[in-house]
Symmetry: C2
Subunit: 687 residues, 2 copies
């Protein structure tokens, strides 16, 4: 289907200019210079002709065909112009003009006017405060930014126009080609969600990349993203993860923040892969656009020099990839073909004197080896043959196999021609071989996500919602969790010391005493938790110490909770946190009092099935330990999974609960279940 | 002093060639083309003239001045040629020829012959199997590799000739200039230690960089490195950290491996900073050569666009830097000078319409602000002014202050001229702003190391060495540690069950029972540790279970150790490991049975004073917890430091001990000391 933002039949440029220093000049120049083949109509009251094109007094005078308008008039004139577009029957508009909501409430008001006008005429808008759109295949470049990216298969969506400009400038001559680029600005209409859908549908786009600073609607974004990522790799650079960054984003876009953990969780959930730097994102994108995904993690390194191969191998191992063990057949073959002193173990070193023919034979052998999933081909600068020859043979051999090949024809000055051939042959090249590791591991992560079961059966928990609602109303989190099947140790409440002594005597074995107070959320911080108490003296002493600690903390003491001691070498934390943007998230990790220190807590979008829970558990060290660690037998994963699903279900059943946390949850050996030792919750928290 | 490897008066090229495909051609070409001003003497029996130079029949015929020979004859002819050099009185020789020890024992034998000849004539050798040396200031390029680096202030030492070739090719046009480069090859004479000394002494070199695959002698290397690093930043890329990488190094250079942890510890000890990639190393090097070190961690970001600034701020925070809080004075000033909609909080956004003058005023204000230690200046591509103008003003303003400035004039295609000006003005530029974070944090690490007390008073522990020797001879690690002042819980050995019952009754409170067996090193793995036993029944049951576990593990049981139970929320591991290369190292971190899972163990060169111990402790999470964590009071750091120093002293006193580990060591609250609960050791282990 024709989308006038990327393939318009005719474009009116309202605010076109003869002055080369004006944006309205740049837009016309780009339409002309970058070979837009449709009609171009400059609109400017005071000019007859702009850059050789007939100029129109107003948009209403513009003849057919015209289906897109680019508006670059002062902010206070935009609404009027938009109205004229409506009258003229133009349904797609890019508003380049800035000075709207990003400058304050007055600008915000003007945006509301634009929305009103657009609504009346059924106009779709990109912007305002954006630099527009590019489609290299149409081709059309609606921006005023100098430069047109090479045609390619990477789509790029950006909340920042500056990032678009910088990336176009940077990509020139790098072999990184684009299909479509969209700068969204204040996105009062078309936002990152809709643009993701548009780019995902574009047949010329093989990989979606994005720089975003927030999402317009977390749940809707996730729904769109997962659908897009199922079709195409979806790579992301998210701005504003840190504290100051988030602040800067807030003042920049005013988007709903959402927590950093929730963003990471949401991206992971949707198969979006987060890059750390701009260069990394596009290095991944290029490799995914050009090469098949590896079937496994076993990488072979083919080189003409030792040092660079060592750096590659170090980086590959560091990134969790495996150095392939070649089959005897491959080694025998290589022994028969390579120089005597060559290394036929992986890394395969053909030595400095070998040329493209030797590389050809070795690469063919490696790609044929069933123990090899991917090959990194390194060429250190040499004087015997032209790097272009290597580029040609590597391209040809790689093209005949279904395994990814990444080259590192090292250097810069002497390798320009070779890089052009690699680009034509669709072989990604990295300037230094250690950078191949990040690319290959991103490709493997993509394959693993695609292969993961994304829609296994949801687990249902039968529950009496009425009783549960009562527990919620009373903030009785323990009762609520019990209703969802979570087990607690035997326990009693005591509000006086004598009651405590009496109740403790009814509990078998050692007793834990915990402060009950409305004002204290981390009890152990103020000495409000005493463990393994036996006998009256111990109970008395513990009570007194807790009372003293509570007074010191300036809090009130309602009494104590007496619990059966559960001793377990395995304490985990499980929790539910409702995110401003992405709704219910669930966290899991190593628990106890060191949670913040150990930092082994991972967050996921609240899971609906066992497979999702398993992935969350597996991402943590607590998960490793759960499988049995040293002399510790495997823990009861089954029961743990049940608790995580229960928290998740509670999150969906009671949207008013904003936080619910069990820490510690004691995981006993397989078959013996889990015990929740302490619970805290929060409701209707303001974001 | 004149060093003929870098500033020869005359160079004989033995094996010079007329054939452009031969190395002996390339060497002559480079000497000529890269403007070596001394005498060049091609030596080749069968030519009269090579590239316009008179050719000599043999090196003995070469006239004065000649103080360096480059040898490129077949391997089996090198010894003879070296002998001739000796006769001619040439004391410095670069042997380019390969085919020596790297190919096997025969080659090794030929190397020994070279060493013998060189010894007789007092000849110093670089190589064999290397590509030689470069000095851009002399200038001289003794290699056969196409390209000559730009003159600059970075020295580069490499075990890999291919890395040298690749880096020369890559650095061309990047603004990264070199002073001296040395490829060391098989280094049968001049090795990385001597070369470090040479480069450290070179007045033209401001930063030392190195790619090494191992060190020739760990202790000597450290001594040299620390001296070099005190004078100049010393940056390192170490090849062969991973398992496969180490194997590849072994087959590549045959160097003594040394453990990865020990390398990291040794580098840290010496102030060597390890980079992850080639690009990172040279980005750091350039910044350190050009800019002053920041006095603190507070960074200001100055930008003309929001998105790129957000990426910078995210990366800076991630790297542990702080986003400076500007003074009110600075904010007031900026408010008065910047456009109305500009942001005067950090990041300072001058907005897209601002030009070099606005940048000038803002940068001057930021560099004057006493809350700012460094500034990152971002320019997203724009159309209003030439990037060169920004480069000029930033260079000029930065030059007037003693704070580091890093620019990110973003892009590639449009910024070439600006980058040349920045290079002249000594302002490092990164293509995308997020990369400034790694550069600034490396600079801060350098400053912190320089400021750290490197020679505080050593701590001495008075000890009866005779008694200690007896304990070592009997492998009685507990006794040994007690002699060095380490405290153990009350404990008794029992070899029968009835003995165990009897001895346990003499210990106050709960008892821990631990297997005594020569064959089991991780007792708890086979159920050989039982805790908190009280009364005869518990002792009996524990004995039986331990006996059963030992039988199952196929080991012999000598008896059990009965220990007073020490309960502590803080279990750490401390240990000593003797490294093949770097000698005694000491480790510290979170202990208990989860050591390998939690991975909180750091290694340091065995410390001799409290400051070094403190740095080791501070590098770990266990160290954070030691200062008091949640309700846990601060631990007895004093006593812990004593134990670490004791282990270190033992390491120096008894070189035959290869490993000694206390895990867990229980750290009680401040003033209450520490208890070693379990010890294991090893002697005379073969590396």
């Amino acid at each position: 289907m024709n989308n006038p933002f990327f393939s318009p039949k005719g474009v009116a440029v309202i605010g076109a200019s003869q002055d080369a220093h004006k944006l309205g000049y740049g837009v016309i120049r780009n339409l002309l210079q970058y070979r837009y083949k449709g009609e171009i109509y400059p609109v400017n009251k005071s000019a007859y002709e702009i850059q050789g094109l007939t100029c129109f007094e107003s948009v209403e005078k513009v003849p057919d065909p015209v289906d897109l308008a680019i508006i670059i008039v002062p902010a206070n004139a935009v609404a009027g112009v938009l109205e004229e577009c409506g009258e003229r029957g133009i349904k797609y508009v890019i508003i380049v003009t800035g000075g709207f909501s990003e400058t304050g409430p007055e600008g915000k008001k003007m945006e509301e006017e634009l929305i009103e006008v657009a609504g009346r005429y059924d106009i779709r808008m990109v912007g305002p405060n954006c630099i527009g759109t590019i489609d290299t295949h149409t081709p059309v470049n609606t921006t005023f930014v100098v430069g047109m990216p090479e045609p390619g298969e990477i789509g790029f969506i950006s909340h920042s126009g500056a990032m678009v400009a910088a990336i176009i400038d940077w990509a020139e001559g790098s072999g990184i080609g684009f299909s479509r680029i969209a700068s969204l600005g204040n996105q009062i209409d078309v936002n990152e969600i809709e643009m993701t859908k548009t780019i995902a549908k574009d047949p010329k786009t093989k990989v979606i990349t994005a720089y975003i600073e927030g999402v317009s609607n977390g749940l809707e974004f996730m729904e769109t993203a997962i659908e897009a990522a199922l079709k195409k790799p979806f790579l992301m650079l998210k701005g504003g993860h840190g504290e100051s960054g988030a602040k800067a984003v807030a003042s920049h876009t005013g988007a709903l923040a959402g927590s950093s953990e929730a963003y990471h969780a949401a991206f992971k959930h949707c198969g979006i892969q987060e890059a750390h730097t701009v260069e990394e994102m596009f290095e991944w994108a290029r490799a995914m656009a050009w090469q098949p995904l590896p079937k496994g993690k076993r990488v072979a390194v083919l080189t003409n020099a030792g040092g660079p191969a060592i750096l590659a191998v170090d980086a590959l191992e560091q990134a969790g990839l495996e150095i392939a063990r070649l089959t005897q057949k491959t080694k025998d073959y290589l022994t028969s073909r390579l120089p005597k002193a060559a290394s036929v173990n992986n890394p395969v070193d053909v030595l400095a004197g070998s040329g493209p023919a030797t590389y050809t034979l070795a690469l063919e052998a490696l790609l044929t080896d069933e123990h090899v999933d991917a090959v990194v081909v390194i060429q250190a600068p040499q004087d015997w043959f032209l790097p272009v020859s290597l580029a040609e043979v590597v391209g040809e051999v790689a093209g005949a196999h279904q395994k990814p090949v990444i080259t590192s024809i090292m250097g810069r000055a002497s390798v320009g021609d070779a890089l052009k051939i690699l680009q034509k042959r669709r072989i990604p090249n990295v300037a230094f071989p250690e950078r191949s590791a990040s690319v290959l591991s991103a490709m493997i992560a993509r394959r693993e996500w695609l292969e993961s079961d994304k829609a296994p059966e949801s687990v249902n928990i039968e529950i009496n919602l009425k009783t549960a609602s009562d527990a919620v109303a009373q903030k009785d989190w323990t009762e609520l969790l019990k209703l969802y099947g979570v087990r607690f140790p035997q326990q009693r409440i005591a509000s006086t010391l004598s009651e405590a002594i009496d109740e403790a005597s009814k509990i078998n074995g050692g007793v834990a005493m915990k402060l009950v107070s409305d004002e204290v959320s981390h009890k152990s911080d103020i000495g409000g938790v005493k463990l393994n108490l036996k006998g009256e003296t111990a109970i008395r002493k513990a009570w007194e110490e807790i009372a003293e600690g509570t007074v010191k903390a300036g809090a009130g003491m309602k009494g104590v909770l007496l619990q059966e001691m559960i001793s377990s070498a395995r304490e985990v934390i499980v929790g539910m946190v409702r995110d401003e943007q992405f709704g219910a998230t669930v966290l899991f990790g190593t628990g106890g009092t060191d949670v913040e220190l150990i930092k082994d807590v991972h967050t996921a979008i609240a899971p609906k099935n066992r497979e999702q829970v398993q992935r969350l558990i597996n991402a943590t060290k607590a998960g490793v330990k759960l499988k049995g660690w040293r002399n510790l037998p495997p823990g009861d994963s089954e029961a743990l999974t049940g608790v995580i699903l229960a928290l998740s279900k509670i999150a969906y059943d009671f949207p008013e609960i904003t936080e619910l946390e069990i820490n510690p949850l004691c995981v006993l050996p397989k078959g013996e279940g889990v015990y929740a030792l302490d619970v805290r919750g929060d409701m209707n928290r303001k974001f």
